[in-house]
């Protein structure tokens, strides 16, 4: 059972060897990883128990056992989504020996933000992070926060000056944040109930149906991490 309001971070992935990814396969690859539950929507709750922490930072507090929750969602063919409660996906892939076998899609965040601003629909934007190009080191990036950024005339005007790389989508009807998406397939959301998973599914389907996702990319999670250090 997952606690309500648990934040999850991770991303979308594809296996380069074209093999399908399953939760059973993951469990055979890493000791201590077990399936806790499977939802009707196709999400699997996995829990990894370990006597050592996955991340070095956790050594600050020594515990008899470390526990990490994962949510796994297989997609079409060799695609899948994996998010973890402690932002430990990279270490997880290292342990499962999948580090160089998975890559991440590109998401056209810039076009997504532009279109949500000009033709708004069921999602509003609660946060947008953007690179600013052409200003050198003096000004490199910016962040915008609000309940509905696309409704701001100022934000729409500034969009031509910035290059968004991450966006948080909100459900207009429920007035809640659904998911945060990055241009390298990064995904984050807060689990509150099974409804959070349904909402995240709907948002990903929206991205896929509208053609914002490009799966033929070669960057691995490790390369991605290096690129962002």
């Amino acid at each position: 059972m997952l606690a309500s309001r648990t934040p999850f971070t991770g991303g979308l992935y594809t296996r380069r060897d074209a093999a399908e990814m399953s939760s059973a396969d993951l469990c055979t690859r890493i000791q201590g990883l077990q399936v806790v539950s499977v939802t009707a929507g196709g999400w699997t709750h996995l829990r990894l128990k370990s006597d050592k922490p996955l991340e070095r930072e956790s050594l600050d507090v020594l515990l008899p056992e470390y526990q990490y929750d994962f949510l796994f969602r297989p997609g079409r063919a060799n695609r899948f989504l994996l998010v973890s409660s402690h932002d430990v996906n990279v270490t997880f892939f290292e342990r499962t020996a999948l580090m160089n076998q998975v890559s991440r899609p590109e998401i056209d965040i810039s076009r997504l933000v532009q279109e949500l601003a000009t033709q708004p629909g069921k999602y509003s934007m609660g946060a947008v992070f953007a690179r600013i190009e052409g200003q050198g080191q003096a000004l490199r990036s910016s962040a915008f926060y609000g309940a509905d950024l696309g409704e701001s005339e100022l934000f729409r005007r500034l969009l031509s000056e910035v290059n968004p790389f991450r966006v948080a989508l909100r459900d207009v009807v429920k007035r809640t944040e659904i998911i945060s998406i990055g241009s390298r397939g990064e995904i984050a959301f807060t689990y509150s109930s099974q409804v959070s998973l349904v909402d995240a599914d709907s948002a990903l389907r929206f991205l896929s149906d509208r053609g914002y996702l490009a799966w033929d990319t070669e960057e691995t999670p490790h390369e991605h991490r290096q690129a962002h250090i």
Binding site: T118, Q119, P120, E151, V173, K174, R175
Partner: protein
């Protein structure tokens, strides 16, 4: 620092014409037990744990009433008990030492502060002294003849002159800034009264409202001031010291908003549309909400233009309390319910509801300026020509007038535009005017005063409606109004009508959990679920009117002024007065009126802060 600690006490004055006695009780039940025709009462709020004044037989003691003064600027020495009141003399000080009382009086009384000092033996008043900070003189602008030769108006005009002279005189006594506002009021009303183009009946109605408003303002502000025992006010629970501070609190709030619209007047903004070229689409109704045309800020002014060309004062709307009218506005007055005096810490009685009434005023100005004057046939024809021959529009204002008229006409779906004669069109428009006014007011209030925050807005309006009995028959109209207001945030959205309805329903479900005893929220939820298609249809018909409000009543410059420093509202400490001042009274009441149970002490703190705690 002054802190409201120690509870509410009840101060009572009894007088039989020759002798006046004073009593004070901790409990209301004890205070009211001997209440009769010679008794007057007011709550006083203990500062720093002061016990109720005790009047020992044959022993001298002193009560000093002083104000108006911001309590945060006051230091109370040992040996003096201190209380706050809701009257204009908002500080009460008690001691058995005449020297201490006089010394404190001398240190506090300066500028606009007046006082009244009672010397008592036991509980019998033996001596009364008082001091006004200013002097009253007959204001000649008010007392000189109006020059009105219309006999039917004479008695009401005389009432106006005397009421206004009295109000100005009282304001002079206490050096209140309302003096200048009243003199402006006098100038504008005099012009109106001698304008022969206005019918007698209309002038009479205006005068009657003005008279009530000025009379209320005077007795509510200055009732319960010197000489206190001669100055009873007809609000039973405040009949001794009055509610002057509460009225000044209302005044501070309404003046903040008025000053924004004085520097950026709705009428002037709309007049400036005349300088903007007509859109080549002809009918603004046909331009999609996502068209770049709507991205334009039609009211943007150059910075130097704002600084150098203020639009001048409007006729001030004097805000007072009314047990009968509750929250209400006319073109020249505003009222808040008397329940707000002791319950403005709750969403039910929050003074934030006054923003709805102030929105009515701006909407009235906009409609008056843009709709055709039905007494002038050429004006009606001009609007009709733009409607039937859209390409004839010469500027944006002409197009906006047609847009507004069409938007109001189509609230009722009687026939298409092509099938209507001019007379039928304008008859339908007139039929729909009241509803249009409410929709525009709600949308204006939502966008400006709730800053488009759907959840806060819905909470505020439904909780305040819940305090009005027997309005079941109005729930359907209320649903439509809030749908329209919220739709202002979804105008550009695909399927925005449906999403608005679902969003309002979802917010009402949450509110129902938060306020399970609310009378009308369950009814509204049920209505929306049972008659979904009907409400979707009604919202579609009203979409154009919402669009008008969003793009032609809303200006980002005004919004910025109204929300300036809004984030600093909650840094104050409830019940405490310090040197920290309020920067934005709208944000202040929004932040401090969210408690579920009315609390007289917290409400008194809110009203004192509004009245005296605003940053100059």
């Amino acid at each position: 620092m002054v802190k409201l600690v120690g509870g509410t006490h009840f101060l009572i004055l009894r007088g039989d014409g020759s002798t006046h006695t004073v009593e004070c009780y901790r409990r209301f039940d004890e205070a009211v037990a001997k209440h009769d025709g010679n008794s007057r009462i007011s709550p006083i709020f203990s500062v720093a744990g002061s016990s109720p004044p005790t009047f020992e037989k044959d022993k001298p003691c002193h009560l000093l009433f002083l104000g108006p003064k911001y309590p945060g600027e006051t230091t109370i020495p040992d040996g003096i008990d201190c209380y706050l009141t809701l009257g204009l003399l908002n500080l009460v000080l008690f001691s058995d030492s005449a020297e201490k009382i006089d010394s404190l009086r001398d240190s506090l009384a300066s500028g606009t502060v007046g006082w009244e000092r009672w010397t008592l033996i036991g509980n019998v008043i033996t001596e009364v002294e008082h001091h006004f900070p200013g002097r009253s003189s007959a204001p000649t602008e008010v007392t000189e003849p109006i020059g009105l030769d219309r006999k039917p108006l004479t008695p009401t005009a005389r009432e106006f002159q005397t009421a206004l002279a009295c109000a100005v005189g009282k304001a002079q006594l206490y050096k209140q800034p309302t003096e200048q506002l009243l003199l402006n009021y006098n100038k504008v009303l005099r012009r109106f009264l001698i304008d022969d183009s206005i019918q007698d009946v209309e002038r009479l109605q205006f005068l009657a409202i003005a008279n009530v408003s000025i009379a209320r303002l005077t007795w509510q502000t200055y009732g319960g001031t010197s000489r206190i025992y001669e100055s009873q006010i007809p609000i039973a629970m405040h009949s001794l010291l009055g509610i002057g501070t509460a009225v000044l609190g209302l005044h501070a709030l309404t003046r903040f908003v008025e000053q924004v619209f004085e520097s950026h007047s709705t009428r002037t903004d709309l007049a400036r549309l005349e300088n903007i070229q007509a859109h080549n689409a002809g009918r603004l109704l046909s331009i999609p909400a996502t068209d770049n045309f709507w991205n334009r800020d039609f009211f943007a002014r150059a910075t130097d233009e704002i600084a150098s060309r203020p639009d001048g004062p409007n006729l001030p709307q004097f805000a007072t309390f009314s047990g009968r009218d509750g929250f209400r506005s006319t073109s020249i007055s505003l009222s808040a319910p008397t329940e707000s005096i002791t319950g403005c810490n709750t969403p039910s009685w929050t003074l934030q509801t006054l923003t709805h009434e102030m929105s009515h005023t701006q909407v009235r100005i906009a409609l008056g300026f843009l709709l055709p004057d039905f007494a002038i046939p050429d004006d009606v024809q001009a609007v009709w020509t733009t409607i039937t021959q859209p390409d004839s529009a010469t500027n944006l204002r002409t197009q906006v007038r047609a847009f507004l008229a069409e938007s109001i006409r189509q609230l009722s779906s009687k026939g298409t535009l092509e099938a209507l004669s001019r007379e039928e069109f304008f008859a339908a428009l007139k039929d729909n005017l009241d509803e249009a006014h409410e929709i525009l007011t709600h949308t204006f209030d939502f966008l400006y005063f709730y800053r488009g925050d759907e959840k806060t807005y819905l909470r505020a309006v439904w909780v305040s409606w819940a305090s009005i009995p027997h309005i079941e028959d109005r729930v359907k109209n209320y649903i439509v109004r809030v749908l329209c207001a919220v739709y202002a945030s979804n105008l550009r959205r695909d399927n925005g009508v449906t999403m608005t309805l679902e969003s309002v329903e979802s917010a009402l479900v949450e509110l129902n959990t938060e306020f399970p005893d609310s009378l009308y929220i369950p009814e509204a939820i049920s209505e929306l679920r049972l008659n979904r298609e009907e409400y979707l249809g009604r919202l579609r018909l009203r979409g154009a009117l919402v669009k008008f409000a969003r793009y032609f009543l809303w200006s980002k410059d005004v919004a910025a002024m109204l929300s300036k420093d809004a984030d600093l509202a909650s840094h104050l400490v409830g019940g405490t007065f310090t040197e920290e001042r309020i920067k934005n009274p709208l944000a202040f009441i929004g932040a401090w009126s969210q408690e579920k149970i009315p609390d007289a002490i917290r409400s008194a703190w809110i009203l004192q802060q509004l009245a005296y705690g605003m940053e100059p």
